[in-house]
């Protein structure tokens, strides 16, 4: 049968489009997402009070290393997650952007605390605070609180893992991020 004629064939039943590539690639997607979600390495980045609650989430009682976050890297070149814990001010914003640019893809951002969502308690009558870290870098998960409990941070990490598990690696050309 000539290859050109397959377009005119009528298939029985219904045809459902899968995300580019069909069943082999969705299984590969699952494996890739499972591997990425379960071993996110955060960058050691904390500017103020939320950093202490982040350290509490790393201690023996709350223990984020159960979820794969144990190896906190000091350099952005080896990290895939940046947890922005603490207020960002105008002098620090270019530094944060530079750190984010130095991280290799795929990278994720968690905005921890009220200061990173919208400026927090420092919203009114301050001249130097950036009112929300999403003015500087794109954010995946926001955690409210001042400071949020370590359990809230663990909830956010699990939410991020769920978000990653729904990603697709093989995309149609017009769907690119």
């Amino acid at each position: 049968m000539d290859v050109k004629d397959t377009n005119k064939l009528v298939f029985p039943g219904q045809v459902h489009e899968t995300s580019d590539g069909g069943i082999l690639v969705t299984k590969l997607d699952d494996v890739i997402n499972w591997a990425r979600a379960n071993s996110l390495w955060p960058l050691v980045f904390g500017t103020s009070c939320c950093a202490i609650e982040m350290m509490s989430a790393a201690d023996a009682r709350h223990d984020w290393s159960r979820f794969g976050f144990e190896v906190a890297r000091a350099t952005p070149r080896q990290a895939d997650l940046i947890i922005v814990a603490g207020t960002i001010v105008m002098k620090m914003a270019p530094v944060l952007k530079r750190l984010y640019d130095q991280m290799p893809d795929p990278k994720y951002v968690i905005a921890m605390g009220a200061c990173t969502i919208s400026g927090g308690p420092f919203f009114y009558n301050t001249y130097s605070v950036v009112k929300g870290v999403d003015h500087v870098i794109p954010v995946d998960v926001y955690i409210p609180g001042c400071p949020p409990r370590p359990e809230a941070l663990l909830h956010a990490l699990i939410t991020l893992q769920e978000k990653i598990k729904h990603e697709t690696y093989f995309k149609k050309k017009d769907d690119k991020k």
């Binding site: 960058l43 009070c49 202490i52 001010v89 530094v95 420092f122 009558n125 130097s128």
Partner: protein, 374 residues
């Protein structure tokens, strides 16, 4: 030779200029140091501040006298109760009232619990900076127990907003007294582990003995306070010099050292932990009955004038200077923070030592950078 921003990377004398921070695991916050190196020896240290300058002083000029206290919890967040106590005392000085006796004892208990938990976190982070990971987990074990007590009474673990002008915001929880006694038993039982892990360790002693010497005259001239200055022999504990809130009736010793190096500062803080436990044990069974807050008006207005209150935080002397012109908001507030002055002595202490010594010096000065920048 210079980089794209025009900063020199190699000077004419052949010294390297490198950056430590702002993002660095051992700067305890966002501190940017430019160090001039000859090989590995430090020739000059230039701190660059302002990466967490949140304009707290300007913001406080538009808040009322009850509201501005919350921002000080976020300045030196490891001594949050003590910072709030300083602000409440300064406003009480202006209103010429005193906190009730019950509130004063509750304030001292909360302040000493805060000091103890702050020193525990300092000890864990000192170990972490110098390469030992285990002390970090041991320190947080006791600190979590203390934060549970705070949470039950004050509602928050870290930035409690519990002290108000006139007393405290709510009464203590009925469980407070026996939980504190349990935690004191636990801390006393495990405090010897701290000594076993770090104090007698030969690597730790080699890294801290003789490093970062600060003489007594220099400590006074640089304005250093707290354990940083007490290890050099300067007697500066505000709880003894200008007692407040009933500290004059409490028995405790001011710990002074003589060596002035990193090891001396370390030993002063370890001894201060034991003094805090001693203060808590004296007071926990003797909380007087009565009101937890003195009666004040809803809208507080301070008379025209200036009011200065000094307290002893875990890191040194905090001064709250309120200038009032009779309105319902302060005209000018200045926070004389201990870390700002302690940091100015860093260059003096670090000249001539190696980069590894710089880390040891920074961790024993016990810096909290949001307190430097306010």
């Amino acid at each position: 030779m210079s980089n794209l921003l025009g900063d020199p990377i190699v000077t004419e004398e052949g010294e390297f200029v490198i950056n430590v921070g702002p993002q660095h695991p051992s700067t305890h916050g966002v501190l940017h140091l430019k160090i001039w190196l000859d090989g590995e020896t430090i020739k000059k240290v230039q701190p660059h501040l302002g990466y967490i300058h949140r304009s707290i002083e300007k913001m406080s000029e538009s808040l009322s006298y009850r509201n501005f206290i919350f921002a000080t919890s976020r300045m030196d967040y490891l001594s949050a109760h003590i910072n709030n106590q300083a602000c409440a005392l300064a406003v009480e000085k202006g209103l010429q009232i005193e906190a009730t006796p019950r509130a004063q004892i509750i304030r001292i208990l909360m302040a000493e619990l805060t000091r103890l938990s702050s020193h525990q976190l300092w000890w864990g982070c000192t170990g972490l900076d110098l390469g030992a990971v285990t002390p970090f987990f041991y320190a947080f074990r006791e600190r979590e127990a203390i934060m549970d007590i705070m949470e039950e009474t004050c509602g928050a673990r870290l930035t409690q907003n519990y002290m108000v002008p006139g007393g405290v915001m709510y009464d203590i929880h009925p469980n407070f007294q026996h939980r504190v006694k349990d935690v004191m038993k636990q801390v006393k039982k495990y405090l010897h582990e701290y000594d076993e892990l770090l104090t007698g360790n030969v690597i730790f002693e080699n890294r801290t003995k003789g490093v970062g010497y600060l003489s007594k005259e220099d400590a006074i001239s640089y304005g250093c306070t707290g354990p940083t200055a007490r290890a050099s022999g300067v007697s500066c504990d505000i709880r003894k010099w200008n007692p407040y809130d009933g500290y004059e009736k409490v028995q405790f010793e001011e710990i002074l050292g003589t060596s002035g190096d990193c090891y001396g500062r370390y030993m002063v803080r370890m001894a201060e932990m034991k003094q805090s436990i001693h203060i808590i044990e004296q007071l926990i069974d003797n909380i007087p009955e009565g009101d937890f807050q003195a009666k004040t008006k809803n809208v507080l207005k301070l008379p025209k004038g200036e009011f200065y209150q000094r307290v002893e935080t875990a890191r040194g002397e905090l001064g709250v200077y309120i200038v009032s012109d009779g309105a319902a908001s302060p005209y000018r507030i200045k926070y004389r923070s201990p870390n700002f002055s302690n940091l100015s002595a860093l260059e003096h202490m670090a000249l001539g030592s190696k980069i590894g010594d710089l880390v040891a010096i920074m961790s024993t000065i016990d810096l909290v950078i949001p307190d430097v920048d306010r």
